[in-house]
């Protein structure tokens, strides 16, 4: 991927975790909006059908708003802004937050974003031995026995 490749991360909140991400090369024009034809489709009522547009000009990524709601960067409403690595912007005053990341080819950046994987297949596995150990650790002493007795007593006294 060229050195100007970027990823867009849709965040769960301002400075929050990414919930979805997209990657683009420098020769692409990226349209962000609610419309299905957008390159980055965001189904959020506060996002305009075509809300903003990202493209490379003069070797730098530029973000321009195509929505009457504008984009918010550093707390200010903007119609045009030059993007750098880590720039966060919001689609309008009420919309979701997006973060831009440089994709350096063999980057150590990867390891930083490793907490975000756009998992499609959940893989939840239970370690039964660990589970048994942990449960036993809590229940073996008289702490848990006392607790059970108290619970039984309280439950009885609650019955009409």
């Amino acid at each position: 991927m060229s050195s100007l490749a970027i990823s867009l991360e849709l965040l769960e909140a301002h400075q929050g975790h990414p919930v979805q991400s997209w990657e683009f090369a420098s020769d692409e024009t990226v349209v962000i909006g609610r419309a299905r034809e957008s390159n980055v489709v965001i189904g959020n009522p506060y996002v305009s059908r075509t809300h903003a547009c990202l493209r490379v000009n003069d070797g730098r990524w530029e973000l321009s708003s195509t929505s009457s709601h504008g984009v918010i960067v550093d707390g200010r409403r903007r119609d045009f802004v030059v993007i750098s690595d880590g720039t966060e912007f919001r689609l309008g005053g009420q919309g979701p937050w997006i973060r831009i990341r440089w994709k350096t080819s063999e980057s150590d950046e990867e390891s930083q974003t490793i907490t975000f994987d756009p998992v499609r297949t959940p893989l939840l596995v239970l370690d039964p031995d660990q589970l048994a150990d942990e449960v036993e650790e809590i229940t073996e002493g008289d702490f848990f026995e006392r607790l059970t007795e108290l619970a039984t007593r309280l439950k009885k006294s609650s019955d009409p």
Binding site: L10, E12, A13, G16, V19, Q20, N44, Q94, P96, P118, V119, R120, T121, P122, L123, L124, V125, L126, D127, Q130, L131, E134, V135, I138, T139, F143, F144, L147, T148, L150, A151, T152, L154, K155, S157, S158
Partner: protein, 263 residues
């Protein structure tokens, strides 16, 4: 007969408070009288979801636990903000009462230092049900396994256990679930929250149900709208058509259904 329901998660920030508050709204809209107690005395928060400033409460659950007042004095009627004026004006209409915890650091420090008498808390629950004529009492709990929380769970009729689709949550939640079973909680309902949009939901449900042998009654998507709301309002009121609201309605149906998990 009133049902006491504790809402719990192994980890913090899983969505207990928002879920509790929104379930209360849906239960009240179905015509019920509902109480919501914030037993997360270490880090109270549910009052925020109901749009109430701590300064609007003269009393809190802490006052009751320390014997400073009867429990109903710490109960605040939030019906108007939660389900609207019309319901609140109907004498026979539904109600929502909030029993907040104190956010004063001194009060919190005292709880951390001394713990509290769970038998007294249990008495408080019964008094609330009786005096406020409740159909449902929802208990928002502190995350993790501690004595008070385990007892709250043990004395509840139903236990709503929330987790995120994340491996660490999964293992930790299983421990809590086993403890609840040992404490003889009959009705255990699993809710998965913050499910990423791209995740295979059916597979997720299967994995959780197979491993936990308990029904998954709600699968709540990770939602911008919820994140944006930042606990500053009641989601089901703002977004009545949202998939998340629909999933919460399924949870309510499971709570109201006497048969789920009762074997």
């Amino acid at each position: 007969m009133a049902q006491t329901i504790s809402i719990h998660s192994y980890r913090g920030g899983t969505g207990k408070s928002n879920t509790s508050a929104n379930l209360a709204v849906l239960l009240a809209r179905a015509g019920n009288r509902v109480g919501v107690v914030d037993t997360d005395i270490h880090s109270p928060g549910i009052h925020v979801v109901f749009g109430r400033a701590p300064s609007s409460f003269q009393r809190s659950l802490n006052d009751f636990l320390w014997g400073r007042c009867p429990v109903e004095e710490a109960a605040y009627d939030v019906t108007t903000t939660a389900i609207g004026q019309a319901a609140a004006e109907d004498d026979h209409g539904p109600r929502i009462f909030l029993i907040p915890s104190s956010i004063k650091t001194g009060e919190i420090a005292r709880i951390l230092r001394e713990g509290y008498d769970v038998a007294r808390l249990n008495d408080g629950f019964r008094e609330l049900i009786r005096v406020l004529r409740l159909d449902f009492l929802l208990i928002d709990t502190h995350p993790g396994v501690n004595e008070e929380t385990l007892l709250s769970i043990a004395i509840s009729d139903a236990f709503v256990l929330i987790l995120r689709p994340d491996q660490q949550d999964f293992q930790g939640t299983a421990v809590t679930l086993e403890l609840a079973r040992k404490l003889d909680v009959r009705k255990i309902l699993i809710v998965i929250n913050k499910i990423p949009p791209a995740m295979d939901r059916e597979l997720l449900r299967q994995q959780v149900e197979d491993a936990y042998r308990a029904p998954v009654v709600g699968m709540l998507p990770l939602s911008h709208e919820m994140a944006e709301l930042a606990s500053g309002g009641l989601f089901v009121n703002r977004f009545p058509q949202h998939p998340l609201t629909r999933e919460l309605s399924n949870v309510v149906a499971a709570i109201q259904d006497g048969s789920v998990g009762s074997t």
